[in-house]
Amino acid sequence: MSAVERVFLEALEDLRAGREEPVERYLQRVPSSEREQLADLLASYFAAQQGPADARANAAVYERALAAIDRVTASAGPAGVLPGMLTELSRTRGVKRRELLEQLEEQLEVPPRARPLLRRLYHRLESGAVPGPGLSRRLLAALGQTLRLPPRELEAASEPLGPPHALQAAQAFGRGGQTRALPDATPSEGEESPTDPELLAVYDLFYGGRDA
């Protein structure tokens, strides 16, 4: 019996006994060259475990998934899909904006007099008015901690997006695509850079760039 077969059978036993581990743990038990084969076997098993194909049930699931994705991606702009993601993740996790802001204030050690500015800038971020490249890694890490997402995923989500377009198969298998210059982190209208050091520290979290 090969390593793939052995681990696959162990996974099935675990699943039947209700003690399954994360899929990646099973994948780690086989040589890297055989992980794809094991992943395909596990995926086929999970797919086969789905209930009978009920066209109406499937349509309802698809419609709901589409609506959830639309809420995040439909308003992509200068901060990518991050504004929609923040709103939607807060909703799905049941985290109120007030609670999220309190956690940010604590993690970022924002002094009381700078908290109104943090709240205002966060509101601007959620509204899509803060350019993504201006967001600091510190802010993204704090958001990631609150919403349980790796900072690099939040960073990628905050990349500015243009109009969506289709990719042709020839591009994937042949010619490289185009890369687009990032917009700079210049604040959009309505937010002046403060001179007070404590306020400036908060301002830089949103407009100072990744290393601020």
């Binding site: 399954e20 994360p22 899929v23 990646e24 994948l27 992980r35 794809e36 992943a39 395909d40 596990l42 995926a43 999970f46 797919a47 475990q49 789905q50 209930g51 499937n58 699931v61 698809y62 709901r64 998934a65 589409l66 959830a68 994705i69 639309d70 995040v72 991606t73 439909a74 899909v81 993601m85 939607e88 993740l89 909703r91 799905t92 996790r93 049941g94 985290v95 349980r148 997402l149 690099r152 995923e153 990628a156 989500a157 990349e159 997006l161 243009g162 109009p163 969506p164 377009h165 289709a166 990719l167 198969a169 591009q171 994937a172 298998f173 490289g176 695509g177 185009q178 890369t179 687009r180």
Partner: protein, 134 residues
Amino acid sequence: MRNPLHTLDAHYAALSNEQVEALWRHAIEHDRDAREPLLRQLVLRASLVIDDACRREGDELGFTTSDVARACDETAQRLMSRLRVDPSVHSIRALAHQLACEVVRDPDRRRSPTVPRLSRPRPRLRLIEGGEAR
């Protein structure tokens, strides 16, 4: 179908899983405006796995319909977020299942307030001696 994203959803729906995944891996490296519609397509294709896993896991923990729906939406988001940065994922369905389990079992997850269910009072029946069935 005025939303351009929905037009692209329909465009990619005609492709095989292998084709969509190849385009997605390419887009991650080279073209992020093309990446987002491909991420949507991958998550839509995993929606049944997500729904199934959240429903099954959630049932065991006594989730309400609303809890399950929120867990499905969160899993879809997390899958999309992971696929935005990680082209090395071997099996998207397996990852979707794993993320759904993590989301449902998250000990910090907030649940809908439980509403006490009142059972109907049991009917009180008396046997009437000498009565006739009608």
